[in-house]
């Protein structure tokens, strides 16, 4: 029973970590919503 509970908690922790990483990736790699613009482009 204790082992079953532990497995469940581990699963929840991993799923929570996955959610968190998904949010971080979304924040970093999502299309830029702000109005910053860059000028320097090296050809």
């Amino acid at each position: 029973m204790l082992k079953l509970q532990w497995n469940e908690n581990l699963k929840a922790a991993l799923l929570g970590l996955a959610f968190f990483l998904l949010i971080v990736l979304l924040f970093v790699f999502a299309q830029d919503l702000s109005s910053s613009k860059f000028i320097y482009v090296d050809f």
Binding site: S34, F38, D42
Partner: protein, 362 residues
């Protein structure tokens, strides 16, 4: 397996949400501590993605006891040329990095931004003047006076710089979109979001397209992406609008921004030095409108002159270096970054020593 009316899956999901929230809170707490350390901002190459980040960065540097030297610049100071040419540890070879090593008794705060414009400097000064810097360096470049920036709507590179600015000199008439509102709330509420924007800007610097091109160049044979001779043509296409401009009349927004900035610096009795960054004559003579260029340079130089005063806070270094000093039309190699830093350090030291010896700068 039902115990409290919730299925196993629902309980698992709720626990995962709890873990996720916990991680978000822990990350924000870590960032809360980290943002007070100046070194933190090097992690994302001093990318200033929002007003909030700018304020955090200035706050971190103002904690020290040394007098502050504030640096306002564009891609020349930011080091974009070295980044594009994949110079190893380019962050340590920018003008401000060299300056920092040459002025150990000062805290050098570099808030240079790629593509900065004179009106950006005015807005940046509004945000940073509370630091009461011992000295400010302003770098000016011919690009900043290009025809496309004469119109007030184009005269600021990052409209967020004018947020909360009392009595802005230009009315951008921007209508915030739903995305702007969401971004604004997230920047204030979540440090993770705030600094994710900086990380994003650093990862995709200088633009998404260019970052992908660089990654592809590493994966594919160089010739399949761009021919070496294309490089010069593409560079000319990019910079020609900057140098092939018509003559300025004097009421263009970049010149107005300089007048506003000088007025305010004078009122605040702020010691500063403005310099016009070196230009690569060999590159620009191929594309510029010579007559307009010379007249515009005279107008730019004249806008900094203070009639009747022996002490001038402006130097025109546009013809300072030979063509081997540059990667392109204006971006300097590390060796010349160091030379320029030395020239600036000498100026700063003579000005600040002069003031300490009761010789008024103003």
């Amino acid at each position: 397996m039902k115990k409290t009316g919730l299925t196993v899956e629902t309980k698992l999901f709720l626990k995962a949400v709890f873990v996720c929230l916990l991680l978000l809170i822990i990350t924000d707490l870590v960032l809360w501590g980290a943002k007070t350390k100046p070194g933190f901002y090097s992690l994302f190459n001093r990318q200033i993605a929002s007003r909030e980040v700018l304020l955090d960065m200035l706050g971190a540097y103002s904690r020290g006891s040394k007098p502050i030297v504030l640096i306002f610049g564009d891609s020349v100071l930011y080091g974009s040329g070295m980044h594009a040419h994949q110079v190893p540890r380019w962050q340590e070879q920018t003008i401000s990095a060299f300056l920092s090593r040459k002025l150990p008794d000062f805290t050098v705060v570099d808030i240079s931004m790629d593509g900065a414009l004179p009106l950006d400097y005015w807005a940046l000064y509004q945000v940073s003047k509370h630091l009461k810097p011992a000295f400010i360096i302003f770098e000016f470049n011919y690009r900043m006076f290009a025809q496309k920036y004469w119109n007030s709507g184009q005269a600021i590179s990052r409209p967020w710089l004018l947020e909360k600015t009392a009595d802005p000199p230009v009315d951008l008439k921007t209508i915030p979109t739903a995305a702007d509102r969401i971004t604004g709330v997230l920047r204030k509420g979540s440090l993770l979001f705030r600094y994710s924007e900086c990380a994003r800007n650093a990862i995709f610097f200088p633009s998404r397209e260019e970052a992908f091109n660089q990654w592809l160049r590493r994966l594919l044979p160089a010739k399949s992406i761009r021919e070496p001779e294309d490089k010069d043509v593409l560079l000319q296409l990019k910079i020609k609008p900057y140098y092939f401009t018509t003559e300025m009349q004097g009421d263009e927004t970049p010149l107005q921004a300089i007048r506003l900035l000088l007025k305010e610096l004078g009122e605040q009795k702020q010691p500063f030095l403005a310099f016009f960054t070196p230009q690569n004559a060999d590159v620009i003579k191929e594309i510029y409108n010579e007559d307009a260029f010379n007249k515009n340079m005279q107008k730019i130089n004249a806008s900094f002159q203070r009639p009747g005063r022996s002490h001038q806070n402006y130097v025109d270094w546009s013809a300072l270096y030979p063509s081997q000093a540059f990667y392109d039309h204006c971006h300097l190699t590390p060796a010349y970054n160091e030379q320029l830093a030395q020239a600036l350090a000498d100026k700063i030291l003579s000005e600040t020593r002069g003031r300490n010896a009761q010789t008024p700068v103003e």
